[in-house]
Amino acid sequence: MAIPSHLPQIQVASLLALYDGDVRARRRTLWLALGVLAFCILVAGQVSEIDLPKFLTNFHSFPNYILRIFFLESGAVVFSDVAEWFWGLKKWLLHIGDTLLIAYLGTLIGALGAFYLSFSAAANLAKSPTRRFIARRILEFCRTVPELVFALIFVVAFGLGPVPGVLAIAIHTFGALGKLFAEVVENIDMKPVEGILAGGATRWQAIRFAVVPQVLSNFASYGLLRFEINVRGASVMGFVGAGGIGQELIEAVRKFYYSDISAILLLIIGTVILIDLGTEHIRRRLLSAETGR
């Protein structure tokens, strides 16, 4: 290929050859990666019993189902009789309130634990590498096991109701926030800590006066973000009998109370979006307060 250039043809040719070789090597890698990917897809499709013909013949029931949940038992569209559609509004709102309380209490307990352990898990403040290692493994365990698994076990131990839900969310939050908090602590300016320690302070005095002021707004911001996630998590706790709106939802789905499904789903989505907006507003104000200082 001839390219208009100010360089002598020979030089251009060698550059082109280099370029072609580079492109060819990248293409080869790409094809190899795609081949591996295709192989993985085939194996995964086998293992997860994907049956495309069955899916295609049944697919029409997905839009049908979505449509069906927007019709009342009488066959009328839900919007025609909102009072009938939201007949259980009072009960559902109470359950939504419980869901929020579960998320709040779980976040609070988890965050307090994470606050305490994050200083041991942070590289710059840990008393010893062994303690740090143990703290990190505990946090890792708590956030890797899904909260619903904790909820299942706690339901057996503590009985049905919101108590196991709160505890499950608290444990998961403890693990997730502990890691984030420790990362925040690792990024602080160490000069105040050194100063206060040189002045004869104890470890907890140093944390109170040199570390906490630096990290508090970040901690609060992460805590609010976690609350947002936990509201979503608490909405399904009822699936395993651990309290909240999930119980009502799974009953409606299992018993084919179609219009109830859409009503409860809309309540959940609305609540989640409201909480998202609210926490985002507070977080933005926290961040601006931080930068304005």
Binding site: C40, S48, D98, L101, V163
Partner: protein, 280 residues
């Protein structure tokens, strides 16, 4: 050498705002803490927490922990392994399908790339709505469509991740440097050329790394969707918990932990490789 005590009174006089806390900010702090404590107290009462219940639950929990040692699969080792493979396959296919669908949606939802404000608004609300519904709820809905089994799980993970990916992808696309795009336009390229040569090359590694990250977290989600009957290890886990087979419960949890750790390790390596070779 003479030791000089610090001139505390002088320091107080020179920096009053540092030495005496601002009364309004202190009031605000006390108010916020009081509200939080009051709300927590209300929640404790409303959700029927009691020392008796917590105490007896703790005793039960300790008993269970004792029964968990040593973890053992009993006669079900092969069954559990197959279910675990199913879980990983669900997470893998769900993540992949979600990424495929979210790729075009991400461009639609990004400011100033494709389409107008109306399309962008619709795409964004669509993704917000999808994200407001938990994976487990999607699993329940899909079970009604394709029946019990892992396929419903794949579709559930796919649906809930389409929402998250659309949001993440559009943010990555918006953050891309505009200079290459301007260069292509000024050299006479079309919008399609801009997409192919100005936007996709810089965002692809970012998107790939997000997808890999989600693969790991979806493996964890895939372990629980079995609880409602959407395939994978969750079904066995829930069953073993309900029948008090604690050594098997411990075995399954350990299996999941090891698998998640392996996938985490592999995806971190892959992410480094992807970002490392393509980064400018």
């Amino acid at each position: 050498m003479k030791h000089n005590p610090p001139d505390l009174a002088g320091i107080r006089a020179r920096h009053p705002h540092l030495m005496r806390p601002d009364p309004t900010s202190r009031l605000v702090t006390i108010g916020v803490v009081a509200v939080m404590v009051a709300l927590a107290g209300f929640a404790l009462m409303r959700l029927e927490f009691s020392f008796a219940r917590l105490g007896s639950g703790m005793v039960q929990l300790v008993t269970f922990l004792g029964l968990m040692v040593p973890p053992s699969p009993g006669a079900y080792a092969l069954l559990f392994l197959h279910a675990l493979a199913e879980t990983v396959a669900i997470a893998f296919l769900g993540t992949l399908l979600a990424a495929l669908f979210a790729f075009p949606l991400g461009f639609l939802a990004a400011r100033g790339v494709l389409g107008g404000a109306v399309l962008r608004f619709i795409t964004r609300r669509f993704s917000d709505t999808i994200r407001g519904v938990d994976t487990l709820i999607w699993a329940l809905i899909w079970i009604n469509v394709v029946g019990l089994g892992p396929f419903a799980g794949v579709l559930a993970i796919m649906t809930s991740d389409i929402g998250s990916f659309t949001k993440l992808f559009s943010e990555a696309i918006e953050a891309v440097d505009h200079k290459p795009a301007e260069g292509i336009l000024s050299a006479g390229g079309t919008k399609l050329h801009v997409l192919r040569f100005g936007i996709i090359p810089p965002v692809l590694p970012v998107l790939l790394s997000q997808v890999l990250y989600y693969f790991e977290s979806n493996t964890r989600s895939a372990t629980i969707i079995g609880i409602v009957g959407a395939g994978g290890i969750g079904l066995h886990l829930a069953e073993m918990i309900r029948t008090y087979e604690w050594d098997r419960v411990a075995f399954i949890i350990l299996m999941v932990l090891v698998t998640v750790a392996l996938i985490d390790f592999a995806s971190t390596r892959l992410r480094l490789a992807v970002a490392g070779t393509r980064a400018p």
